[in-house]
Amino acid sequence: MDVAISTLLSPIILFFALGMFAALLRSQMSVPEAFAKGLAIYLMMAIGLKGGVEMSKNPLTLDIMLVLLAGIVLSFLIPALAYLLLRLTTKLDQTNAAATAAHYGSISIVTFVAATEAVRLSGLDSGGHLVAVAALMETPAIITALYLASRGQKRSEPVAGSEQGELVREVFLNASIVVLVGALAIGWIAGEEGTASIQPFFVGLFQGVLCLFLLDMGLSAGRGLRQGWRQLTAAIVGFGLYMPLISAVIAAGTAYILGMPPGDAALLITLTASASYIAVPAAMRLALPEAKPSIYLTLSLGVTFPFNVTIGIPIYIYLALLINGQG
């Protein structure tokens, strides 16, 4: 309970709320796109480096390998479940349901970062390899979704101008994977000592930058919601709220089986429950151009993201404590 309140009153979440509030009141203010994108790269470098430095301190155990594997499997499977639920409970067609499902199988790095802060505030520890899990969980969901979208369709010709490998590059070499994995490797190679001189930038400023970034996320989420809510039926909005909880329970079970400590478990649960709103939408525009961004993006960014960042994370931490017998 305490965790929930201190999370909700942390400046990071308050700035997110400020942004949403301003957007819903139709304020014209905005954080310039180039600046926000620069901050996003900073944030990914910072968590990659932190994870890498932590991983450099301990050997790579089988336990860690199993967690990495679990992340991949979850990202592959969650979209199938999401697709099923969407087809059963909403009127979305095959393409739109598959595209939306891809978002819920993949992850949101900002939700992950906010959870890391909340875990730290709760006095729990978490391992650096969860950053690797985050990177690994980004893409498998896309593959599942593309399969679901093409099932039973007769193979269509490739779109004019499309290029062999174009989608693969977009999916496996997008900014967040390159920066996360790259910074993780650099942190690992350089270690604590080698990164000492860059700590003031990447560690000292982290929470402050996050405030600024979440102000922008709040503006985006609020505007997305205001412009797009008409496209969403009650059933779709419902999905955006219960799907993270279902994913969370599945991930909690996985964490329980793997015997993960509470901090790590909380992060794996958050990753599984979070939905992508940057990498997957971009991939969908190339792979499934007929699917409507006004549905999948509004849902993921306008409904699920705010839910996770405010209410979800405390629940996921609670779940993680529960499976460790500390609830």
Binding site: A36, V159, A160, S162, Q227, A282
Partner: protein
């Protein structure tokens, strides 16, 4: 006298490289891409400032060439636009240094 046409393609930013490849492979000698900042269509509005994924961003691709070459590209462009949103216009223009196209 040869007639020159300007193609303008307003298309999703994510798909613009496809369009560019179409223009190149159809033999257009050049094109220039301009970023849009907002738009409206199908009763939906988008605006660069409000979409962190940039997945609704559009661009305009302008390419000038002689009528034959331009008409040549139209089939491929139609196929591209079958999959993507976006619009195409052709405008008659007068050019300087026609040899260059």
């Amino acid at each position: 006298m040869t007639k020159y046409l300007q193609i303008e393609l307003i298309i999703e930013r994510m798909a613009h490289k496809r369009a560019c490849r179409v223009l190149e492979s159809a033999g257009m000698t050049g094109y220039t891409v301009f970023p849009a900042m907002a738009g409206y269509g199908g009763s939906k509005r988008w605006s660069r400032d409000t979409d962190i994924s940039a997945s609704a961003d559009m661009v305009s691709i302008v390419s000038i060439g002689d009528e034959d070459k331009v008409r040549n590209t139209m089939d491929e462009i139609a196929s591209l636009l079958g999959a993507h949103i976006g619009i195409v216009t052709l405008t008659e223009v007068e050019v300087m240094r026609p040899g260059r196209f």
